[in-house]
């Protein structure tokens, strides 16, 4: 009986959503309420992480990894903090272009020279950290208050929720295109993909460019949310974006994953933070919990296989 119910839940595919829902229920139970304000805060906090993680998502689908997305978001945020006040269009444009350019650099090195992504992005991570420090040595700059207000306002639907939903839709759209299919194909088997007619160099480079631009969007959002730019704000997101995509069911080997999972991953991480904050547990505990949950998630297929193997052995012996 339980087996049927469990299988209907399709645990294999849906655990990111289920985990998030479980945590959300826990949150509501502890706080005793779930107002629109809570929803707005949750989405606003999750938005930058979601955007940067989407960038990571595109690269990981191809079987690579990008450790420079955090610093890229810092650069974009700093550009935004310096330019938005002067002219909003320029501010947004420069920030996003900077991200795309950074991504292009990564892509060229990985594709043209066949260098391992982890080493390339390790180097470019340092480069962009440096660039961020050059642009904005200390946190500062200013963001037009209209933007910050807009992000924290509520027009029937909290803007942050709308923004998150929009980001999710955009990422979903990308994965639903032929380009998205090709990303997955490259992650599955790059040689086979090339032999099957996929323009591997172009698609792979595009993945990195897209990742840079998306991370830049995340950086701009961060700047708006905090009303200032900071050269180091993105550093935490370097590894956090990897953890988020893994929590979202994306395989680091490439070829597997969807946008909904990434959103759920970002929400899960954010809500854990909020739960710990509410429980007056210091942020120290957040590190531990994040680590444990990450492990639980990635270990569960192996653990389940092992349990299944033991059951099969017992059945055979009996």
């Amino acid at each position: 009986m339980r087996g049927v119910w469990l299988s209907r839940l399709r645990l294999e595919e849906n655990w990111p959503v289920l985990t998030f829902v479980a945590l959300l229920l826990l949150d509501v139970a502890l706080k005793g309420r779930f107002s629109r304000f809570d929803l707005q805060t949750l989405c606003a906090n999750a938005l930058p992480l979601a955007l940067i993680s989407f960038g990571q998502f595109f690269v990981v689908l191809t079987g690579g990894i990008d450790l420079s997305l955090g610093p890229i978001s810092s650069v974009a945020g700093s550009c935004a903090a310096l330019l938005l006040a002067r002219d909003m269009t320029t501010g947004f444009a420069v920030a996003l272009l900077a991200g795309a350019a950074a991504g292009l650099g990564n892509g060229l090195l990985v594709v043209r020279f066949a260098l391992p992504p982890i080493v390339v992005t390790l180097g470019s991570m340092s480069v962009w950290q440096g660039v961020a420090l050059l642009i904005l040595p200390n946190p500062g700059g200013e963001v037009p208050p209209e933007l910050s207000d807009f992000l924290s306002s509520d027009y029937g639907v909290p803007t942050s929720l709308a923004a998150l939903a929009l980001a999710w839709l955009a990422a979903s759209w990308v994965t639903s295109t032929r380009f998205g299919l090709h990303l997955r194909a490259i992650g599955d088997d790059e040689t086979a993909a090339r032999m099957s007619g996929v323009a591997v160099p172009r698609v792979k480079t595009a993945a990195y460019v897209l990742a840079g631009a998306t991370a830049a969007a995340g950086g701009v959002t961060l700047a708006i949310a905090t009303s200032s730019g900071s050269p180091t704000v993105g550093d935490d997101y370097i590894l956090l974006s990897v953890a988020t995509v893994v929590l979202g069911g994306v395989s680091l080997g490439g070829g597997v994953g969807n946008a909904l999972g990434v959103v759920m991953g970002a929400l899960i991480v954010t809500i854990i933070g909020s739960l710990l904050y509410f429980a007056h547990l210091s942020s120290f505990y957040q590190s531990i919990i994040n680590g444990v949950i990450l492990l639980a998630v990635v270990a569960s297929p192996s653990v389940r296989n092992w349990i299944g193997l033991q059951f099969r052995r017992l059945r055979h012996a009996g």
Binding site: V111, R112, A114, V119, V120, S126, V127, V242, F284, S287
Partner: protein
């Protein structure tokens, strides 16, 4: 045309005709590259601050390098085995805190403190190894997670308040035996042990086999899981040892003391010519990489280069090094 063929063509285009066909044995190219780069870096250093190139200063730099050097021992072993260890930051810090907490600044507690620190390192390392080998968790995720847990754990257990270090350890980390800094001697001894072990023992062969081709290694009767777990455990121990000694050098354990070692340790391994995919390379190259990194960092510091520019140069140097490795080493599959 696949990227590999393109790289070969690029090589032929960039290097003058006779050179491009002449492929040096790997060890030689690394030594030559090291010599060339260090001459340049030392030259720059001398220009920025006369006296830089003196023997005394060089010995100081070797002392400074030794902490990263010890951490990189573990990182090298893990990368050779086909993995990566992103948990060294907080294993180092956690072990350092374990040490200072147990010893309470007293020389009498050193042995117990050391055991505690090494136990922390070995414990986390073993957990990493089991997760990667038995549970088939990606090394990036596994070591990331343990790093996170160690970060939280250290903070929770010790409340993060810095503690003093026993005199003996401080003396070891900062002192000298005659003209040679003690740390340099320790690092040199460890280097010799590791290089010999990897090159001349069956354990070393197994490590490289697992890293290069786990399937072939398995079919040759090698216990891949045991080798992997052992490599990660040693990495934890190395990080722990570095933590204790670095705490001695800084005369305290402090939060975040391990952060500065993670990425440089990986950079050193790559600079030293080992393949990030595993199975190729050795610690000798890494040690040279560590020295180059220290030379570069001190040059940048002395040149009063802003932190921003420093980071940029460091990053470009890493990319440049990997690129030139790719182009110079005969088109081997990386």
């Amino acid at each position: 045309m696949p990227a590999e063929a393109k790289t070969v063509r690029l090589r032929r285009a960039l290097l003058p005709a006779p050179l491009s066909r002449f492929a040096l044995p790997r060890g030689m190219s690394i030594l030559i590259a090291f010599a060339a780069f260090s001459v340049v870096l030392i030259g720059v250093g001398e220009a920025l601050s006369p006296g830089y190139a003196s023997a005394a200063n060089m010995l100081q730099l070797l002392k400074l390098s030794s902490f990263l050097g010890i951490v990189s021992i573990g990182q090298t072993l893990v990368i050779l085995a086909g993995g990566i260890d992103l948990s060294v930051a907080w294993v180092l810090t956690g072990a350092a805190f374990a040490f200072t907490t147990v010893t309470r600044g007293q020389n009498s507690g050193i042995l117990t403190g050391l055991l505690a620190a090494l136990a922390v390192g070995a414990g986390v390392g073993a957990v990493n190894g089991v997760g990667v080998a038995k549970l088939r968790i990606s090394p990036i995720v596994m070591t990331l997670a343990t790093n996170s847990i160690m970060q939280g754990g250290t903070l929770v257990v010790t409340s993060g308040s810095p503690l003093g270090v026993p005199d003996l350890v401080r003396a070891t980390a900062t002192g000298s035996v005659g003209p040679l800094p003690t740390m340099t001697l320790i690092w040199a001894a460890l280097t010799a042990v590791v290089v010999i072990a990897v090159a001349m023992t069956s354990g070393g062969r197994k490590l490289l086999a697992v890293g290069e081709n786990p399937r072939a290694s398995f079919l040759s009767g090698i216990d891949n899981d045991a080798v992997t777990i052992f490599a990660y455990t040693l990495s934890g121990v190395a990080a722990a040892l570095a933590g204790v000694l670095f705490a001695g050098f800084s005369n305290t354990s402090f939060l975040g003391m391990g952060d500065q070692f993670v990425l440089p340790s990986i950079a050193a391994v790559v600079l030293g010519g080992a393949s990030i995919r595993g199975g190729r390379g050795g610690y000798g190259g890494t040690a040279l990489g560590v020295i180059l990194i220290t030379l570069l960092s001190t040059d940048l510091l002395m040149g009063n280069i802003s932190p921003g520019l420093r980071n940029i140069i460091f990053g470009l140097a890493l990319i440049g090094a990997v690129l030139s490795h790719k182009l110079l080493l005969r088109g081997e599959s990386e």
